[in-house]
Amino acid sequence: MSSFDENNKERLRSVSVDLNNDASLLIDIPDALCERDKVKFTVHTKTTLSSFQKPEFSVPRQHEDFIWLHDTLVETEDYAGLIIPPAPPKPDFESPREKMHKLGEGEATMTKEEYTKMKQELEAEYLAVFKKTVQVHEVFLQRLSSHPVLSKDRNFQIFLEYDQDLSVRRKNAKEMFGGFFKNMVKSADEVLIAGVKEVDDFFEQEKTFLLDYFSKIKEATAKAEKMTRSHKNIADDYIRLSATLNSLSAEESTNYYIIKFCLKLFQNFLRVCLKKVEGRVASDEELKLTELLRYYMRDIQAAKDLLYRRARALADYENSNKALDKARLKGKDVSQAEEHQKRCLQKFDTLSESGKKELTNFKARRVVAFRKNLVEMAELEVKHAKNNMTLLQGCIELLSGN
């Protein structure tokens, strides 16, 4: 199945644009191994930076390592004013695995040809999930490498370079933070963000926009997923149909020679045209549209996290003000309270400043990515429909000419 050649890989990267352009730090995932449920990614780095020991190197990494990296970045105070690129989702082989199960169950009722065909399709789907997960992990790293601040992170460097197993580090990290941030924050952020009194117009607008946009894009993602799943179902139906027609035409019924002839054609038509095209429409549409929506849904969540952190900083600042007033009243620990208040204000201001920059960049990045994907999707749809017509024309000539 050639639909995932380099050309396509390029297109897949358009989910987030302008990545991996800086020659000083180039990262990619050239290959990956699938062992049972675990995927082992080979992370390959090429760099001109002196902070690295070698100019080019590769390390094996697991999905959990990526999550560790993401979490440490999130929990780093200094990055509170940045949008941390969303963590890549766990490789999900559920759908092909379910299919494999169904295939195993239905083996008795299918003809050998049907079975082989479905098995091939199943393998192709496994491959598609596989490639998708590689891509999404790759994009994560590339977002980091193209960020002026995050690319310099020490843990990022360790992730890229450390040639030993990271699982020891991962365990330590877990002990330190204990998933504290995650557990506490996620449920409360909406309320907190909404509840804080906003002083800055820009953030006020952003808040409203992001909250609304998030719910809408979440909805659109879910609906897009359903739509592409329906497309896949239809492609599967066509596969089964063509297999049945094939066994029907292969029957030893010489008196139905007409049937055989026509069925052969019909089955060819189904096999060649529709399956190829329908199957491809399903996967391209999914990649462009659904992946785009899914990715930006997570990105917007990351942006919301930024807003949350800023809101918390604001809340802290307001609390420190109150504490200062109290201290002044009581006449105790005033300098301490002043210090604390100054720090809180500083933190809040830094957050606001970098937050503003990040959010503006994010907006621009999002618009560009949407444009690229929508244009490419429309072009692909046209290309497929035209392809379909060419193939069908051949079929028609066959059917009417003979």
Binding site: I234, S253, M389
Partner: protein, 506 residues
């Protein structure tokens, strides 16, 4: 021939098959109803086949198929009422030309004598249509009444064009009469669609949704094809019950259609199959042809049931796709309204519109899959059941003959016993009975041979006729054609219109 082409060209814009450019059909709906689709495909195969006739037996069959097709379904007259008469006459006139060129396949040809061959080439002088389903009455006593119209040039009918109203049970009643009369002779009596309690209940209760509209349309189509098959059969057409069905204003209500409920019908077919399979083992088939044919029919039945299930699944999935696309379109519109970048916002609402239009395409294609694909397969499965039924009747005839032979044997034994026991008065009776049974044996043997010959002829007719060809030749071409002519170009149009909007995002 030229007369037909020009006239049909006037009806819709499409003409040749091979050309890359297609003018958009005047009414999109034309493509999806069986009628218009029939008018497009025959023309294309006609123009190509006319060059290549008489060379290949397969081609000739297709020519004949083309002929059947243009006759069987173009109720294009339904759309343009005023052209109905000219279309019927032009169809029958253009029929005469290609019909003479048609030759049945060599295998079948050997089996047929000259008169029978002529019969195969007979012109179709009766066109029937079933339309305008109307709900009569309310609640659980409600029923659908269909308009049955007949167009004919045959003198045995009172008029050339006439219409009556019939309900579903009337069709079933006709089938029952025909199968009682002609089934035992080995005729393959075309079967009507099954009763459906669920389907009808929805309609009776007044559920005005797409599924009950679908059901009524499926039934209407099936009834029409059923009726056309009946009148296409030269023997059945002569049956006074058929004439009465088509002509008489009011029919007495058919009451004994209980056996023909969906489950009952299936049971009947299954019982026949069981009987046949049990008997074939015992029958000691002298003619391998029958055994082989039955095998073919049964395996075809198996495959087609599978096929039917798959196509129905395709229809369901396409309907789901349509629904999901509509939902996505809505959510994309919402997203567009939430988007603060104006160009992107506009592009997203455009995307929503495109997906909405595509949803309609999916709907149309689902309808198309249903009525042009799934339904024809269902028809074919029913017909295979009827073929098996005719085999069953042949075996019954054989059994009758065998039983008579056994009885004759018994009588002869009785006579021998009486001779030996020397009872002259009973002897005469025994002799009389022997004569009687000898006559019966001869009669039943002749019956069996007659039924066998009929079954054989009927099966050949079934194979060679449009029943087979329509589904297998016509269907793929039509399917491919519709996507070619309508679906794909529309998709291209929609996405090409969207492209500049997407590019305008900044």
């Amino acid at each position: 021939m030229s007369k037909k082409t020009t006239e049909n060209e006037g009806k819709s814009g499409t003409a040749k098959a091979a050309g890359p450019t297609f003018s958009k059909p005047t009414e999109p709906a034309d493509i999806f109803t069986e009628e218009a689709a029939a008018t497009t495909v025959p023309r294309t195969s006609n123009t190509v086949n006319s060059k290549a006739n008489g060379v290949h037996s397969e081609e000739d069959l297709f020519t004949e198929a083309t002929v059947e097709l243009s006759l069987d379904s173009p109720r294009s007259s339904r759309k343009n009422e005023e052209t109905s008469k000219p279309s019927a006459s032009s169809s029958s006139s253009s029929l005469s030309a290609p019909a003479r060129q048609a030759k049945p396949p060599p295998a079948a040809l050997e089996e047929l004598e000259d008169e029978e061959e002529a019969e195969l080439e007979d012109k179709f002088d009766v066109l029937v249509s079933v339309k305008d389903p109307e709900k009569v009455g309310d609640g659980m006593n409600a029923y659908m009444a269909y308009k049955v119209s007949t167009e004919t040039t045959l003198p045995m009918f009172r008029n050339k064009l006439f219409t009556v109203r019939r309900r579903f049970s009337d069709f079933l009643g006709l089938y029952e009469k025909l199968s009682e009369k002609h089934g035992p002779n080995g005729l393959i009596v075309p079967p009507p669609p099954e009763k459906s309690i669920l389907g009808m209940t929805k309609v009776k209760v007044g559920k005005e949704d797409s599924s009950s509209a679908d059901f009524v349309e499926r039934r209407r189509g099936a009834l029409e094809r059923y009726l056309q098959r009946v009148v296409n059969h030269p023997l059945l057409l002569q049956d006074p019950d058929v004439r009465e069905f088509l002509e008489k204003d009011e029919l007495p209500r058919a009451v004994s259609t209980q056996t023909l409920s969906g489950a009952g019908f299936l049971k009947m077919i299954n019982k026949a199959t069981d009987a046949v399979s049990k008997m074939t083992i015992k029958m000691n088939e002298s003619d391998a042809w029958f055994e082989e044919k039955l095998q073919e029919v049964e395996s075809a039945d198996q495959h087609f049931r599978k096929l039917h299930a798959l196509v129905e699944s395709l229809v369901v999935h396409r309907k789901e796709l349509s629904l999901n696309t509509a939902n996505f379109a809505k959510s994309a519109a919402m997203l567009g309204s939430a988007e603060d970048n104006t160009a992107l916002s506009r592009a997203l609402s455009q995307l929503a519109e495109v997906e909405d239009k595509i949803e309609q395409l999916h709907q149309d294609q689902a309808a198309y899959d249903t009525f042009s694909f799934a339904e024809l397969i269902a028809d074919y499965i029913r017909l295979l059941g009827a073929v098996r039924g005719s085999f069953d009747h042949r075996i019954k005839a054989w059994q009758r003959w065998q039983d008579a032979q056994a009885m004759l044997q018994k009588k002869r034994e009785t006579e021998a016993k009486l001779l030996w026991a020397n009872k002259p008065d009973k002897l005469q009776q025994a002799k009389d009975e022997i004569v009687e049974w000898e006559a019966r044996v001869t009669q039943f043997e002749r019956d069996f041979e007659r039924v066998s010959a009929t079954v054989r002829k009927e099966v050949l007719r079934f194979e060679v006729r449009c029943e087979t060809l329509k589904i297998f030749k016509y269907q793929p071409a039509q399917y491919v054609f519709s996507i070619f002519v309508y679906f794909s170009p529309q998709l291209i149009k929609y996405w090409e219109a969207f492209l500049p909007e997407a590019k305008a995002i900044a």
